[in-house]
């Protein structure tokens, strides 16, 4: 029995296993069955752009695409565009114009995962989609995405109180604006002052001043960030989220898939799927080579695949297999994999 569609469908796995292609084929399958689908890639590699034939100017904007007569929406994550949307929706224009925020929200500035949480939540709240299919970054960076929830929570918790307490005591300026002096004074501590004075020795005083200003501006948009946290509960709900861990025969590493599952166990509910991609079994099973070298090739390919499946079955209950697609055409890849999803639905 294959997976039924849910509001969130998340694809994760190590690099090079075909995660993006499988996520896209799933989105196409769901769209073909009448769902309003948004496909989001938060993988900075942006292979989705190639698969969907999108140009560079599409990055960061929801675009309508049509493949084989099937229409769906697609979004290539852009931290910069997400910041702009947050600034517009929260009426906080300083967020998009702050120097430090601009540097950190460059495509490779490092805030992709955290801002992705905000973006996904914003798109979900739009009500425009039945399902959001998420193509996440490879390997450990997928965990960064999941852990982004905790990072946002901690950032808008103790550290903010600490730093604003310090500012409040120092000048009263920023503190007055956001909290009022009474609350600020309550949190003033000698330890924070000491910490910032030590940090100033390393980073220079100007950085501390600039960073505090950036933090103050980010804080004005805290509601948008904190909404991202609410995703955590939704993703952990069986009725709201399908989790797909992807690995491939080519990679041949059961251990990595098992470890990824273990690391993400706080977030992934037990009703998840392991997608084994690039299976060669159907290609070589009826092959009866005579030459020794070819027998070696066949034996090795079969043993690698059967050994991998055996190990995966020890850790995963629901395993869906997808074939190796030898075509050079991305469209052909998508077509074959989308057809495979249909067999799991029937």
């Amino acid at each position: 029995m294959g997976p039924t569609s849910k509001p969130f469908e998340i694809f994760c796995g190590t690099g090079g296993v075909g995660k993006t292609t499988l996520a896209t084929s799933r989105a196409l399958f769901l769209a073909a069955s009448g769902k309003r689908v948004l496909l989001i890639t938060i993988d900075p590699a942006r292979r989705l752009k190639d698969l969907l034939g999108l140009k560079e100017d599409a990055v960061g904007e929801v675009r309508q695409v049509e493949i084989d007569g099937v229409r769906l929406s697609a979004l290539l994550m852009s931290p910069e565009k997400t910041i702009e949307r947050m600034a517009a929706s929260g009426n906080t224009p300083d967020l998009a114009s702050n120097r430090i925020v601009q540097i950190l929200s460059k495509p490779y500035g490092g805030m992709n995962e955290i801002l992705s949480l905000v973006e996904v939540q914003m798109q979900f709240e739009s009500g425009n989609y039945d399902t959001i299919v998420l193509d996440t970054p490879p390997g450990a960076h997928f965990l960064d995405f999941l852990e982004g929830i905790g990072k946002i929570r901690s950032f808008f918790d103790k550290s903010f109180v600490e730093i604003f307490a310090h500012i409040g005591e120092k000048s009263g300026k920023a503190g007055k604006r956001l909290f009022g002096l009474g609350i600020i004074n309550k949190f003033v501590s000698a330890g924070v002052k000491k910490l910032l004075s030590y940090l100033q020795n390393v980073t220079g005083a100007k950085f501390i001043e600039d960073f505090v200003e950036a933090v103050q501006i980010i804080y004005q948009s805290k509601d948008s960030f904190l909404k991202g946290i609410s995703l955590q509960e939704k993703l952990g709900e069986k009725s709201l989220c399908n989790w797909f861990l992807v690995t491939s025969v080519e990679q041949g590493r059961a251990q990595e898939a098992v470890e990824l599952k273990g690391h993400a166990s706080h977030y992934i509910h037990e009703d998840h799927y392991l997608l084994l991609n690039k299976c060669l079994e159907n290609i070589v099973k009826d092959w009866s080579p005579v030459k020794t070298n070819l027998i070696d090739v066949k034996t090795t390919l079969e043993e690698k695949e059967s050994g991998l499946k055996k190990k995966l079955k020890e850790s995963f209950t629901n395993i869906l297999e997808f074939p190796e697609v030898v075509s050079l055409s991305p469209a052909e890849h998508l077509h074959i994999l989308t057809e495979k999803w249909k067999t799991y639905a029937s």
Binding site: A140, H141, D286, N293, P330
Partner: protein, 256 residues
Amino acid sequence: MGKTTLSKSFVRLLVSQGHEAVYLTFKTQSMSDNQTFGSDISKNGLREIALDLEECARGYIEKRISSRLIASWIVKTAFFRALVNMVPGFSYMIYLGKILEMGKENSQLVVVLDAPASGHALTMVESTSNFQQIFESGVVFDDTVKMLGKLNDPAYTKIHVVSLPSMMSWQEATELKSGLNQRTPVSVDIVINNYLYPLLEHDLDEIPPQLKEKALNEKRLIDENVTDVQCILPHSLKNSPEGIEADLVGSLSNLI
């Protein structure tokens, strides 16, 4: 696509040629309360180092303020952890600083870094210049200038992008190479791994049609892009990671 296995095999090759080499990887980017310190172990003749973010950050701050105690306290504060966690590029800068320090302490050491995948590799390479822009002046700014000088020195740093011999993997590899070329003047080459064609080229009419198509597609890809490929590594018929590593060692000499 075999980045980790290739990195380890490369270290083995370097060691076999008399170089002092180490396999290095990062631990998680996040700083949490139960995180253990980094490890430096030798396994089957291979020295493997897993850097730990908190330990690297503490070491850097300690050098700057000359106090291990205070440096330990700073990296454990909620503010510092939240800063590093919220701005992941910061951690890359800390890691790269540590690697350069290792090179400074031992100029003979070759560090083979099993770097983050695809776009995250660009984030890593870009982190130093981003933070140089952010800091503008001060001790950290001066250090980032030094780091960029080393990282962008072709005599000091070299980057290998690993790709499979499939069209989509190749496209991603060339996109990554282009992105790296925009960010650093050091040499960036592409290594093709898991090339099946050589095992089948004399028997193409005796193999299943789809396998033949796969092999021929690989061959076409290589032929069309041969000038952009530094090294081609054949598919290994070994089943164990150790066996595959041993096979790769013999094929990697082009990288030196």
